[in-house]
Point group: D4
Chain length 220, copies 8
């Protein structure tokens, strides 16, 4: 009695997901056959289902461009929705360096699709506390109760923020940085090892996961 949309033999789309879990199915384009992806997108738009497609390369997007999705190049994400959702929740979003911009964008777009207003500050890493402290003050004064913190390299930002903020910090390590501990490994480890309680984390570059988690909380 679950509502499953079967598309040939390769896809069983779970139409009940939003009702059951609070979040619609989000499509990870990476690794999928472009033909399969196209059929899924077409079918869902026909049914008026809201759509979020992540890690979608420009070249693959081009092949489905005609279907009406809005595409964001740097975060490689596309969205579609019949009617704009109103923003009835509030979250904050901080990112450490300009190289973390794309992942922060992914988080922002997904959060907005899920009905969040996003208070956002970029390039406020720990090497420059004079940039960071006013941003945290602003977040607190706005009354946000959850902040997504995007950081690569040594990934210290969530620890510092959690020492200053009284809501939940969701860390998103990014795959910036080279050499030992590069590609997000140091950042992920730092967030899991945070000496400040109140930090949870998602996987490297997983802006979408952080946004979903934040939206579930803000929904309450």
């Amino acid at each position: 009695m679950a509502k499953i949309l079967e598309i040939e033999d390769y896809c069983k789309f779970d139409l009940d997901r939003e009702k059951r879990t609070g979040v619609p199915e989000i499509i990870l384009a990476e690794g999928k056959d472009p033909e399969h992806l196209k059929s899924i997108v077409k079918e869902l738009i026909n049914r008026g289902e809201p759509l979020i497609v992540t890690r979608l390369e420009r070249s693959v997007f081009d092949s489905i461009k005609g279907l009406g999705l809005e595409y964001f190049e740097k975060p490689r994400i596309a969205v579609w929705r019949k009617d704009k959702k109103s923003a009835d929740k509030k979250i904050a979003l901080l990112s450490a360096g300009t190289a973390d911009f794309a992942v922060a964008e992914e988080a922002r777009i997904v959060a907005e699709e899920l009905g969040c207003e996003v208070i956002r500050f970029c390039d406020v890493g720990v090497a420059g506390l004079p940039r960071l402290l006013p941003a945290v003050e602003k977040i607190k004064s706005e009354g946000a109760r959850v902040v997504i913190v995007v950081a690569g390299m040594e990934g210290a930002l969530p620890s510092v923020v959690a020492g200053l903020f009284d809501g939940l910090v969701i860390g998103v390590p990014t795959s910036t940085g080279y050499g030992y501990g590069g590609k997000g490994e140091a950042a992920l480890k730092a967030m899991l090892q945070s000496c400040s309680p109140g930090v949870v984390t998602v996987n490297i570059d997983n802006g979408v996961g952080a946004a979903v988690a934040a939206a579930l909380i803000a929904k309450k």
Copy 2:
């Protein structure tokens, strides 16, 4: 003008932490000099500050037993509080196997110290869905909006739960399991790789971190 309690040259206790971040300082006993630990605990109890001490071996606890803390042997945790806090929040807690019991206990105790009522089910791992499904139904009917899911070995439980539940899932991998991927490594990776959006994670065996995060959310 911050309130710092200095104890000789080795400790600067942050008395403003709860006001600033919503959570009092939690003391990690592991790695600390037992003499240092004793002085810190004594000083804080004298001031009437609430206390949570984690990863506290029985032998170390014995040396501070006289100070009045309540000790839980399996999760190696001790707490002290002048007056019992009332439970004004509600969270759920699931654990996969009987070997995950101690970490789940750590999460339960900390959550209760921070004012949560905890709805809890043990030994409901994915190898036996008939045990798991009624537990998830119960959590939903109780109206909990966040569930801590403790699991070792392959760590599949958070993914399965997040596919059935419409609140936030905080995964806690545990250091059970031997061989390749043992000691919590497979479980941590599984939680970070979860195909169900809405799962965040803390480090291996970090029940306290999950409890703090859950309490911050439930506070809203």
Copy 3:
């Protein structure tokens, strides 16, 4: 007195292999010199030996296309056989996400070449139990005694299936997923750490290995 087919100085093809081990030699194209590959394929077809060539890039296949092999693009596999083998065995095949499609295809094609009828369900991952449970019921009602389970990301599917099924589960982790534990690492670890006894595994993306193992069992 073993039957070895020597092709110049770089190849000694083991013509007795099927008789000795139940499985003909399967050619891994990856890493081989295309010229060497071409000579081997040509020689074997001339002798009427059945052929399976795996991990064969389209560009390499193009250079041997004239020889009569049937090519499957997504799983990068080519087969040739004088006479169609009859299917005297039955196995089941489940895959978790649409990104696992190619590896599942590799397993299906090899299993069919080795004489198996394959009962198959795609996109039945653990995030959506309502899709999975009917598939497992179908497999049981069909009387299959072995099921190949293909899954990437957190690789939880074999554990869940083995908790519901009374035959052997052969797990195939796939190299889907990014970040920590990505490229199949979390999935492989999860399968080796499975809390459900009765799960064995092959290497990441090794659909062919799972199919051979399943066919050897079903042969009995």
Copy 4:
């Protein structure tokens, strides 16, 4: 309507497991609280349920010795069964070195508990082919269709055996060997990388997993 035996709040024993999956619940002692273990064992014996307890240290066994289990010291395993099961299946078991003895014993005992007759050869590693070849001949002449191959260090034995045998090879890497690749890591990798198709594997030292898999196959 599933039959779950609840023991206080920490254990939900799945009494339907054998019917549903072909294998009774097997209890991993490691990581469990000895008091919990004792209660579970006592309860199951009272109900006449067959019992296998693995990775059970001598000191823990001593505390439950009175309950009537048979204990094997080297493989750290204990079993109990009201009536001896008849052996209606046949499997083979090879181990490479004398240091692999305990894991091979674990596999043998579990396989016998599950109704297998076990044809077994120890100390037949690849460094001495003159010891190995007659053992493989014997297995073939006995008509076994599945062989468990236990090997540590470089773990080459399953590959060599699979090149000589026409049934399934289930590799069990053991945690022997020191230095780089030690503790079973080289052996596990070698089995997953086997150039001989028809090899599947379980985790390091997981003799019980191999025995269960073999028994499921031999059951057919």
Copy 5:
């Protein structure tokens, strides 16, 4: 013509080392045969050579106690010097948590033996900026040009300090923290990935290496 002190066949002590490299030989006790260690220490004291012995367990120290070295239990270090060296250099030393105390002590003792005055602050980790900022101000006002920063867990302190200080930061990761990235791994990676230029690092728990480096710089 180099001055080598040969002690039986197992030791060639390099008496010219201080002249050639600015630092006397420092003896790592760990891994050495206690009898060998005793002979080396005895011989050097007889010759009036200054002595630093690191990672010296209490039980081993007890066997050489009679020789006159001063022993520090927590950092497991022993020193001996005919005449107290005057402190003609100045360095700073910060440590993040009370669990980092022993490694910071190791650095302090070695630095003092090499002629440094050490300005030191403990327990000033990034989770509590109100404790850290005054310490950095003090260091700057004292005119120190190099600061050793000792930190475990996520190891964020060197990055934050280097963003506030205009001398060299030598990071020392410590083996505190459990789970993924524990035992100093996250901290080491964080220091190598620091987004603040001007941070160099030594190995995990290597307080002695940091002290030597600092003393060589301050010597200039």
Copy 6:
């Protein structure tokens, strides 16, 4: 009251950094959006701020070529400065193989931009001591107090140099070498494990970090 240059919403350039930390902000091009990079560079040159841009691919440089930066192709670095800085400090620079040339160049260029005279020897690895020993003698006779040592593969050079030299050795592992321990991993580990005290290290290929550290020391 800190001087922050905001460029749209993605960049907050820290103009006070040199005053506060002794080093101007150095721009890591890798991972940045080329459009963002271009705006930052343009804005800074307009303000007459000195500029160092590292890990700048030729194709990206071409898009900002018109702005007046000097580009070095092998080390992928670009610099700009209104007036040439006079060299009031002296450092030495050794590199082990010709494949380490680009990283050594990166270090040399940054050091010169920060006001250092650089005494330099290339291709003096440990496999040929007759090439190395005269170089070390020259460095000592020139009175340099810090030497940057760039080495890939086994990374032994810093240990050998530190055994001959009485100043600080800053090791820079390079990503040369293939197979196990390749891409700089062996070299980094070797430098952190150096048996010669007085060696500190920066991350793999991080010539810029070593140059900044050296310049901070030489500044004193």
Copy 7:
């Protein structure tokens, strides 16, 4: 007084190396600047020095083709020598699969350049003992005292050969194989873990290292 050929500031070629160490300098092309490589090759040919250049991509070779070197495409190696050296030593060379061909070729060419006659068998992996045993018999009857064994995937061949042969086995793991333990990692570990004494190893794909070692031994 050592003979060093300096080429500008980036190269110091060690002309005494063959006299001092028994082997001329061998040039690793990978990672070197093509212009640097060209100058070095030109200069050495002018002086009549014998030349071996390894890991030389075709595109780079094309730019120095005019200088007279002989190029081998699959092993990416080029050699030059005024007069053919006579083969006064004898070694054996075995390789496991056709994908190991290029690395085996590298070893053969280098060994021949260093004066070895090479007895060689390809495609004699452990999955087919009937191919391997006659090859080992032939090597023994030829009186070779050292055998280079090239193998990827599980790398079992050196262990099996060393159990049959009474000379030295030099294992060369190759970067064949995918998934866990792929790219030569399983093979390297297997060789280091070999249960047959008398196996030494070089790094993954390092055919040149094995050939040099073999030639040094055969020289005696």
Copy 8:
């Protein structure tokens, strides 16, 4: 027709091994059941077979002390031989630090048992070239054609020696050193990455493997 000595069901001792491979079976005590070990040793001494038992803990040796083996405590090795073998081969042995003493002893004892005269120098690591260079000169003047080089920490010694010596260098990394790259990992990687051709390696702490390899070569 091979001579196999069967001891109950757990051991098949290969009495032909020395004839077939040039080396008698060497018994690794670690991981073996002490009762099994005792029976094997007793049986072999009764037959007058020469015996080498490695990694034999003192407590285990004590239980077989009566059988007449000579025991060396630091290298944990025991030997037995009816008649002293004459030394008809010559090898050299260098070790880097005093902590490498035990592994060097293991290599020396095994090499002597196999008929080698061993020229040996301890504590000649690369941090003190003045100690090392005379040792290498001595080895060359003695005419040794193979040198075993034992080194932990950064493991640079084999590279330096191979740059000065014209025979084969067999590197033995030792498990000294702590932190990142500790326990022999940096040393093993360094030896495999050696920039000096002519270095082969065995696993960490595997002195016995190096000695066997050296003896096979010196036999020629």
